[in-house]
């Protein structure tokens, strides 16, 4: 180390300390916000390992000073005896098709909007932008009646009903997001493909689709989390049919009743949170992009 650098570090030390002091209000404010944001979840996590008696007689923070009586009983109970395990599967059955189908449909619709010329393209697309924010409530009554007699069968309460509903509700935003992305792909690529004699089908499957993977990933994550977390659409189209209810519906009735089995609530809630949180932590970049773009969806 040269004399000059030593002199510089010696000089830097007091000013670095002073800067830390001056920054203290910033750190304290941020720290306080972070604590408020983390404590609620930590509390539920701790309670999910405690017995029913312990949860009702003392706060979860008492565990921090005298850790005792923690166990995985609630989790094994939830997944085993309580039928929340099957509700978890229902959530998967509902969410996976309700994510896959609108994404695929949106992909080629978006391609048509981005790269095919037809009269009324702009107006049609503006109508689509308007549809994104239509409140789902304005569609429930007519769709519910349509499902009462859907090609001769009553499908209210079935997976088919909720798949159809989520597909249609997800489409406007899905098309919007993918069209914007596909529209920004370089024009030369598609022109060159057309000159080489590639049909639009080839250009779509070989060029547009692979190049749009980042947008498709954001969309898949957004739609997956939206459907997984949905309560309202499930309440309307699955309704009281307990065999097909997703986790959110089962949890909502547990929270609001606080009746039998509610000691499993914290554990069940954590199981319901795990899936989207894992998606969030592992695909954070795509996740943030998808949620930020789609946050106004009906």
């Amino acid at each position: 180390m040269t004399a000059a650098t030593i002199a510089r570090t010696a000089e830097a030390r007091p000013s670095a300390f002073r800067r830390l002091l001056r920054r203290m209000p910033v750190h304290l404010t941020l720290g306080a916000v972070l604590v408020i944001w983390l404590i609620p979840t930590i509390g539920v996590l701790i309670n999910s390992f405690r017995s029913a008696d312990a949860i009702t007689s003392s706060g979860w923070w008492t565990v921090l000073t005298s850790p005792s009586g923690l166990s995985l009983d609630n989790y094994s109970q939830v997944l085993g005896q309580e039928d929340l395990g099957s509700k978890f599967l229902n959530s998967l059955y509902i969410t996976i098709p309700a994510t896959l189908i609108p994404t695929m449909l949106a992909a080629f619709t978006a391609y048509a909007f981005a790269w095919m010329k037809f009269p009324g393209r702009t107006w049609l697309f503006l109508a689509l932008v308007a549809l994104i924010v239509i409140p789902l409530q304005t569609t429930f009554i007519p769709i519910g009646r349509m499902f009462n007699n859907f090609f001769g069968a009553n499908i209210n309460g079935t997976f088919l009903a909720i798949w159809l509903a989520h597909t249609a509700y997800g489409l406007p935003f899905a098309i919007y997001l993918l069209r914007n992305f596909m529209g920004s792909l370089p024009r030369e690529v598609f022109e060159a493909a057309a000159i080489d004699g590639a049909s639009p089908v080839t250009a779509f499957f070989r060029l547009a689709l692979p190049m749009s993977i980042p947008a498709i990933a954001s969309l898949v994550i957004f739609q997956f989390v939206f459907v997984w977390n949905d309560l309202l659409v499930a309440l309307i189209f699955i309704g009281p049919n307990t065999d097909n209810q997703p986790l959110t519906q089962a949890l909502a009735s547990l929270v609001s009743s606080f009746g039998s089995g509610w000691q499993y609530l914290a554990a069940a809630g954590f199981i319901a949170m795990i899936v989207p949180l894992v998606v969030f932590l592992s695909l954070q970049r795509f996740f943030v992009r998808g949620i930020s773009a789609g946050s106004v969806k009906g």
């Binding site: 037809f118 977390n229 959110t248 009906g298």
Partner: protein, 325 residues
């Protein structure tokens, strides 16, 4: 094996195959057509599946809902504006007021806290960690957030050890515990619910505002500081005005979110008891619990009308973006 797994598997495999097959089949069919017609017809064939679904599930139902809103409970008799006057004179006013409170405080809360965190986190090394923590509740469902905060707001009568964090803090600082979720004095319960929503959505505001903050040129801010502007003046006169388009975007999102509030109210205050009712919960009640299609439809139309200005704003913004592209 569970028959539901088989159905789900079938759907996951068959529907994509059908869709890809559809595109291939239309291209085959187009091969028969003349060159000029081929280019004209193709876009419509590609759009058809989506347009059919959107028409059947969004456009026609919305029109039907407007029609229902002028009819009696099962749509057999014309009732004019009866359902609307019933709503405004009955439960509607209270829920509209609550919705306004939701919209105002939710928007203010997420923007003030979101902006503060975005600006402050910009100056520290753990910025991305802080933003991740704040954004995390966005991944959680309203029901899970309700559950988490039910434990936070938990109330035990005075004298018994408190089990909820907020009431523990109140008790420890010498105040009486408050039953947050059933206390309608000063709308404490509604504000308690709104705070949960702020907790869920602030991360969204932070992430968007922070991205926009980073696009402001540092030279500009530095120049102002060199000229002797204080940090507060720099924020007031430069940063804030430059952020205002982004603030408008976040605001529209929060306005829509506030208008459509449902899950928290449904889960935590028994679908709008204790004076916490909002439009969405009232609509659910009329439609699902009372079978009042006409009244339910009228409430849905009120919600739609409230959202139309935001819809127009979105269209304007989109046209603007297209214009500068």
């Amino acid at each position: 094996m569970d028959s539901r797994i088989i159905t789900a598997l079938e759907v996951v495999l068959v529907v994509p195959a059908v869709l890809v097959g559809y595109i291939w089949a239309t291209e085959r069919l187009l091969g028969l057509a003349q060159g000029k017609w081929r280019e004209r017809i193709r876009p419509w064939l590609w759009l058809t599946p989506a347009l059919v679904l959107l028409t059947a599930f969004l456009i026609v139902p919305t029109l039907q809902t407007v029609w229902y809103s002028f009819h009696n409970k099962d749509g057999t008799q014309w009732r004019g504006l009866d359902n609307y006057s019933w709503f405004l004179n009955g439960p509607g006013l209270a829920s509209l007021i609550n919705n306004i409170i939701w919209v105002v405080f939710l928007t203010l809360g997420t923007i003030v806290v979101g902006l503060a965190v975005a600006v402050l986190a910009d100056r520290v090394r753990y910025e991305s960690f802080a933003k991740s923590i704040l954004f995390m509740p966005m991944a959680i469902s309203g029901v899970c957030a309700a559950l988490i905060w039910k434990f936070m707001y938990w109330y035990q009568v005075p004298g018994v050890p408190q089990t909820g964090v907020v009431n523990e803090v109140l008790t420890k600082t010498g105040q009486a515990p408050i039953p947050f979720l059933i206390d309608s004095d000063f709308k404490i319960d509604t504000f308690a619910l709104i705070f949960i929503m702020i907790w869920m959505w602030t991360g969204f505001g932070t992430v968007i505002l922070s991205a926009s903050l980073k696009s402001i040129s540092p030279e500009l801010l530095e120049a102002a500081r060199v000229d002797g502007a204080s940090e507060w003046q720099v924020f007031r006169k430069i940063t804030f005005p430059l952020l205002s388009p982004t603030i408008a975007v976040v605001s529209t999102t929060m306005i829509i979110t506030g208008l459509k509030a449902f899950d928290l109210v449904y889960t935590l205050t028994a679908n709008g008891s204790y004076d916490t009712q909002v439009i969405a919960n009232e609509m659910y009640n009329q439609y699902f619990n009372f079978g009042q299609y006409g009244r339910g439809a009228a409430i849905a139309v009120v919600l739609l009308i409230a959202i139309i200005p935001v819809m127009l704003f979105n269209i304007r913004r989109f046209q603007f973006q297209e214009g500068i592209r």
